[in-house]
């Protein structure tokens, strides 16, 4: 290709250059020929015009001459000159070429004329040409005159030619021979007539015509700038008129002007007509043709050049393709020869035309032995006839077939081949050959068999995982997916670490890998994580696979899920520590846990408790309904017990119908712990007292329960068990279905509490509460109002102070109904007071508990009550304690504002005992601060308290709040308070809390 291209380029270039040169040559030659023809044609036109004009001029002059001669008198002397003039005028009527006709006498004077003005004018005719030679009747032409006629004209000379704008005429004389005295006819020739005529024929752009006298004097010219009368002798000389009368030539004026000139001398008169045709005119058509020709030829040549370039490129391309094809062919040949696969090429009749060396190697037949034969010579006879039929069917249909078959070697042995047959088509899609490619697959078949075995092994029940040396997973089997939940696609390429459960420490894995490196294998149990997050135990065997050089190339891990195995182990463990019937811990486990609980208790100082539970009359049920039903009961009891305790607590069955509940983390106060235990105990009793559905029977069962507490102090487990057991028997003795504590004193305390709570509950219904009123006064002991204080009138125990029942009421929630009762009673009292002017202005303060205040509808309840009783809300004052305001500040403020906006007053009780910030107090809509009685009590002794009281009073003043001191018992206290600026008081100094009747009585007397 590389040596081919320049040669091709050269050939194409030479061919194109030759062609283009030839074409250009022909074109130039044609143009030249046409140019010559055009010039010749121009000369011919010039010649034609010359002849035409010469003829016209000569004829016109001749006609004029004849007419004049005929009218001329024979003798001048005898002629009637006037008549001659008139005759001349008549002659002129049809002779526009003449301006006038005159008659000259022999002295050169005009004696008669068509133009009377001419008469008398002298005209010198001596210089007229041709010169006179005796008395000859010849026409002679004179120097042109400027002017219209002889009368007003003057002759020109070659030095003074006629002005270009002036009129001119040419005098022409004709000698008449009449008698002795000669006469002369004188014509004034009108050059305009001729110029007009010529201009019609020959436009100014075509050429010019000049008429010259023989001596070169210009007589006429179609060029308006020509000087008539000027001499152009050399022109006439050049024409060589003496030799030829007419001619034509290309005239070069030397100043760049070129003309196609033709000339012709008059056949009668001494003038010559010269026509110049402008070459531009003559070549006009030639130029157009030349342009057209070039417009055709040049693009055509350019197109041919482009085509040649395109052709050249195409040839290069074809050459490149051919070279490429040859290269591919060489490669194909190499492939054909060196291919490991046997290749058989047949013709359309399936007769072998070529085979490659590999074929010989596989079949044993050499190329010579098979060429021209049908490939069926290789047939082993192992395939059925239909096999071949379907094979050919597919080849004919699809042009391709592949499959495996058994062939017969030249030596008679059989071998497996993979054969593919393709129909080879030419570019037009016509079938050319069949190409068969055979591969000896005997070895492969063997390998396949082995692989199949290996694959079967791989797909065993054990999960198998294969990684590369970098521990990236290469393959997993189906069992792996079954066990781990990961499909192959999700793990391949990943590190097996993704199965890690996180239960093993890093050291575990480090050991494992060390083992693998040293021993090439590892075996053990491991916790792994399934895809669903479940952690399971597996037995894992990892084997390192090494290559020939001893380098690890793979790791093969086989793993089996041993969850079931582990579960079995767990079951065994359960049997040892749990009661198989109820699945509750057994005595052994209970003791174990109790041991731990005691240790924990001694560390944390929190108390714990043991509850012994025995089902009453279980034996009877067992005997009457059978053991199965008894077992059902025990199971349900176990469930109920578990539902009654917290998660950390233990419920155990220690035998028969005996259960133990162990509570941990109770209060460190034993009494409190006892109370907590009791609550759980009664909860259990309540739960177990519910009816049981045992199969088809409904049964009732009650427990007897004994409890004992343990705290951090060292204790012997058996002692605890015994204590609980004793307490349980006490419960049985007490009539069953009850709970007994081992400590009798504790039992008493609990009993009292229970009694009080019960009473308290009943007392609301039974109206056993009563309000006492303690008066509040100013510095003049004038009554301002009172604080309502609750009292409980117990039917057996008499008056119970609030200290003794309010905490219990708070604990049990009974404070809410009690609080509401207090509020209602107070409102009722205010209503009563409104009737009496004495009490009308009193403000009644009511204590509100924290639980009450934080009820969601507290504000609504208060306002509802106020409204229900129809009292003035400003008479009601709610006393709050600092501590209850600490929680949810914003809610507290909101509740207070709601009430305050409705007129209800607020007093802050126990002020100074809490930690309220001044900032916070400022935000509360308070009316009053109450100085706690503890400060008042110590006022006389402690200087600290004095300072506190002073600070409270100062603060109240700065906040513009009232301040009242409670617990004022002595006059000294009152005085001190008064001195500090506190002017409101409450206390025994004035009155103790008293029933309403007494209060009103005192009001009427003492505080009047």
């Amino acid at each position: 290709m590389t040596h081919h291209a320049p040669r091709l380029r050269q050939a194409v270039f030479v061919a194109v250059a030759l062609f283009v040169s030839a074409m250009l040559g022909i074109t130039v030659y044609t143009l030249w020929r046409l140019h010559v023809a055009a010039i010749t044609n121009g000369l011919e036109i010039s010649e034609m015009h010359t002849r035409s004009f010469e003829d016209f001029l000569t004829q016109s002059l001749h006609a004029s001459e004849m007419a004049a001669i005929n009218t001329a008198p024979s003798k001048a002397e005898t002629a009637d000159l006037h008549n001659i003039g008139n005759t001349f005028v008549k002659n002129l009527q049809h002779a526009p070429q003449l301006r006038s006709i005159s008659l000259l006498d022999n002295r050169g004077k005009i004696i008669a004329s068509s133009n009377p003005a001419n008469i008398g004018v002298n005209v010198a005719t001596e210089s007229y040409l041709p010169p006179t030679a005796g008395q000859q009747e010849i026409l002679r032409i004179g120097q042109p005159w400027s002017g219209r006629d002889f009368a007003d004209g003057s002759p020109s000379s070659d030095q003074t030619p006629v002005d270009t704008k002036a009129l001119s005429f040419i005098p022409v004389a004709k000698t008449l021979i009449a008698g002795e005295r000669g006469m002369m006819l004188l014509f004034a020739l009108n050059p305009d007539y001729f110029i007009n005529h010529i201009s019609q024929e020959l436009g100014a752009d075509t050429g010019t015509v000049e008429v010259l006298r023989y001596d070169g004097t210009m007589l006429m010219n179609t060029d308006p700038d020509a000087r008539i009368g000027s001499l152009h002798a050399y022109v006439v000389r050049d024409l060589k008129l003496s030799e030829v009368e007419a001619g034509r030539f290309e005239q070069d004026f030397g100043n760049g002007r070129r003309e196609l000139t033709a000339y012709r001398s008059s056949r009668l008169y001494p003038f010559v007509v010269v026509t110049h045709i402008h070459p531009a005119y003559a070549l006009r058509k030639w130029q157009t043709e030349a342009k057209i020709l070039l417009a055709v030829v040049i693009p055509a040549l350019l197109s041919i050049c482009l085509l040649a370039v395109a052709y050249y490129r195409r040839q290069l391309q074809i050459a490149a393709q051919r070279a490429e094809a040859e290269r591919l062919q060489r490669i194909n040949a190499t492939v054909f020869d060196s291919s490991a696969e046997g290749i058989i090429i047949t013709d359309l009749n399936a007769d072998i035309i070529s085979v490659n060396p590999a074929f010989t190697r596989i079949s044993g037949f050499s190329q010579e032995e098979v060429i021209g034969h049908n490939p069926r010579m290789l047939s082993s006879g192992q395939q059925s006839k239909t096999f071949y039929e379907s094979m050919w069917k597919e080849i004919l249909l699809n042009g391709f077939w592949q499959g495996e078959l058994v062939n017969c070697h030249k030596d008679g042995s059989y071998y497996d081949v993979h054969l593919s047959i393709s129909a080879s088509l030419d570019s037009a899609g016509r079938l050319q050959h069949y190409i068969g490619v055979t591969t000896d697959v005997t070895g492969r078949k063997h390998t396949e068999h082995e692989l199949r075995i290996a694959a079967t092994a791989f797909e065993s029940q054990e999960g198998i995982l294969v990684t590369d040396a970098d521990r990236n997973i290469l393959r997993v089997n189906r069992a792996f997916t079954d066990i781990t939940g990961y499909p192959a696609a999700e793990v391949i390429g990943k590190n097996p670490r993704l199965l890690s459960s996180g239960r093993h420490e890093a050291g575990f894995y480090a050991d494992m890998w060390e083992n693998l490196l040293v021993n090439g294998a590892w075996k053990g149990e491991i916790w792994n994580r399934r895809k669903n997050g479940e952690i399971y135990p597996e037995r894992l065997t990892i084997t390192a696979v090494e290559n020939r050089n001893g380098a690890v190339i793979n790791y093969v891990a086989s793993l089996s899920d041993i969850t079931l195995h582990k579960a079995a182990e767990e079951e065994i463990k359960t049997l040892a520590f749990f009661d198989p019937l109820t699945r509750l811990p057994n005595r052994r486990l209970l003791l174990d846990r109790l041991q731990q609980a005691l240790a924990s208790s001694s560390r944390s100082a929190k108390a714990g408790a043991i509850l012994f539970i025995d089902l009453d009359n279980f034996k009877n049920l067992n005997d009457t309904l059978g053991h199965d039903i008894g077992d059902l009961l025990l199971q349900q009891v176990a469930d109920r017990l578990e539902s009654c305790v917290r998660e950390g607590d233990t419920v155990a069955r220690i035998g028969g119908d005996e259960f133990v509940v162990m509570l941990e983390g109770l209060s460190s106060e034993l009494i409190e712990a006892a109370s907590q235990t009791e609550i759980v105990g009664w909860k259990i009793i309540a739960a177990l007292n519910q009816p049981y559905q045992l199969d088809k029977y409904e049964a009732h069962s009650t427990p007897s329960m004994g409890a004992t507490l343990f705290d951090g102090r060292p204790q012997i487990i058996d002692d605890l068990f015994k204590q609980a057991d004793i307490a349980m028997y006490q419960a049985k003795k007490s009539g069953r279905n009850t709970l007994r504590f081992f400590d009798p004193q504790m039992q008493d305390t609990l009993n009292i509490r229970a009694a009080v709570e019960g009473d308290l509950r009943k007392s609301i219904e039974r109206g056993q509460f009563l309000l006492y009123y303690q008066i509040q006064v100013d510095d003049t002991r004038h009554p301002l109002g009172a604080e309502a204080l609750i009292r409980w009138i117990h039917p057996e125990r008499g008056l119970v102070s609030p200290d003794q029942f309010i905490p219990l009421a708070e604990e049990t929630g009974l404070i809410l109904p009690i609080g509401q009762w207090v509020l209602e009673s107070a409102c009722s009292q205010i209503k009563e007071w409104e009737k009496d002017p004495l009490t009308r202005d009193l403000i009644l303060a009511v204590n509100v508990s924290a639980k009450q205040f934080h009820q969601t509808d507290f504000a609504a309840r208060v306002l509802g009550t106020v409204q229900r009783f129809g009292i003035d809300p400003t008479r009601l004052k709610l006393e709050l304690t600092e501590s209850m305001l600490q929680d949810s500040i914003e809610d507290t403020i909101a509740i207070m504002i709601t009430l305050k906006e409705n007129g209800v007053r607020f007093s802050l009780d126990d002020f100074g005992t809490g930690y309220s910030s001044l900032q916070y107090i400022k935000r509360l809509p308070l009316d009053q601060l109450k100085i706690d009685k503890s400060f008042v009590r110590d006022l006389s002794v402690g200087s600290d308290d004095k300072a506190i009281v002073s600070a409270i009073i100062a603060m109240a003043k700065s906040l513009k709040l009232d301040v009242i001191a409670e617990g004022v018992e002595t006059e000294e206290q009152r005085r001190m308070l008064l001195n500090k600026g506190c002017s409101h008081f409450q206390g025994y100094l004035f009155s103790k809390p008293v029933p309403i009747e007494q209060f009103e009585a005192e009001l009427a007397t003492t505080f009047r």
Partner: protein, 266 residues
């Protein structure tokens, strides 16, 4: 021409004794026309586009030839054309050589004294004709220069107008047929004066001629038909004819035929 007409009339009188009521011929053209079944129309046969007689065929053509024929039709009589010219016009009409002169006669004060004109049917300005080779006359302004010769036909309206207007140029008054053209063509005169109809037709035929038009309006003259004064009936009849041809479009059609629509009088 008089003797043949009288003879013709005598012949008619003899042939038709019933209408031989004595008639005074003069002053009663209509009766004479009706009696003679002929209307005599004076024309100028050199007048291109108006009343031109082609010397080669002797055919008459021109707008007034057409309109005279129309007049004849309207009157129901034959038309007899009588050759005249502007030089002879007044004589020919007043001496009754024709009943009417129909060759686009310019209404000039001189003529109006002697003749009775209908309402004008055309109106034309004055134009000059020169040769193509004349180097001195390029435009209208070049005409009235010392040394210039201006030719006019005798008796035409141009004669008095140019006589009045020319200051420097020499006026050449000619009365032979086509004398103006010959004078200009031979170079004895520089230009001749004519009107629009003549110039248009003339330029179309003479290859040597060149038109020199005035830059603006020079001297517009209304053209009409002329009759001998005194015969009101005849005059009224002809006036009616003029208004008829204007109204019914015959004038315009004839003008278009001869390319004169631009100078038709309103």
């Amino acid at each position: 021409m008089r003797p043949p007409a009288l003879l013709a009339m005598l012949a008619i009188v003899c042939a038709l004794p019933l209408v031989s009521v004595a008639q005074e011929a003069a002053g009663n053209h209509l009766e004479r026309i009706n009696a003679g079944k002929t209307v005599r129309v004076c024309i100028w046969p050199d007048y291109y586009s108006i009343t031109y007689r082609n010397p080669k065929t002797q055919q008459l053509s021109g707008i007034d030839i057409d309109l005279a024929t129309e007049l004849g039709k309207d009157l129901g009589v034959a038309v007899q054309f009588v050759d005249s010219s502007f030089a002879k016009l007044i004589d020919d009409v007043t001496q009754d050589r024709c009943d009417i002169a129909m060759f686009a006669i310019g209404i000039t004060p001189l003529r109006a004294e002697k003749l009775r004109f209908t309402h004008p049917h055309l109106a034309s300005d004055i134009y000059a004709i020169t040769t193509k080779t004349n180097r001195r006359i390029k435009s209208w302004a070049d005409i009235d220069k010392t040394g210039s010769v201006v030719a006019v036909a005798k008796g035409t309206l141009h004669e008095p107008v140019m006589k009045d207007k020319l200051k420097a140029a020499q006026l050449l008054v000619l009365d032979t047929p086509f004398a103006r053209e010959q004078e200009v063509q031979s170079g004895r005169a520089d230009v001749f004066m004519t009107d629009y109809p003549y110039s248009q037709r003339f330029l179309a035929n003479a290859d040597w001629a060149r038109l020199v038009a005035p830059p603006g309006t020079y001297h517009i003259t209304p053209y009409a038909y002329a009759m001998k004064p005194g015969d009101d009936a005849w005059f009224a009849r002809v006036e009616r004819f003029v208004s008829d041809i204007k109204r019914d479009g015959r004038l315009l059609a004839a003008a278009k035929r001869h390319k004169l629509e631009s100078i038709v009088a309103p």
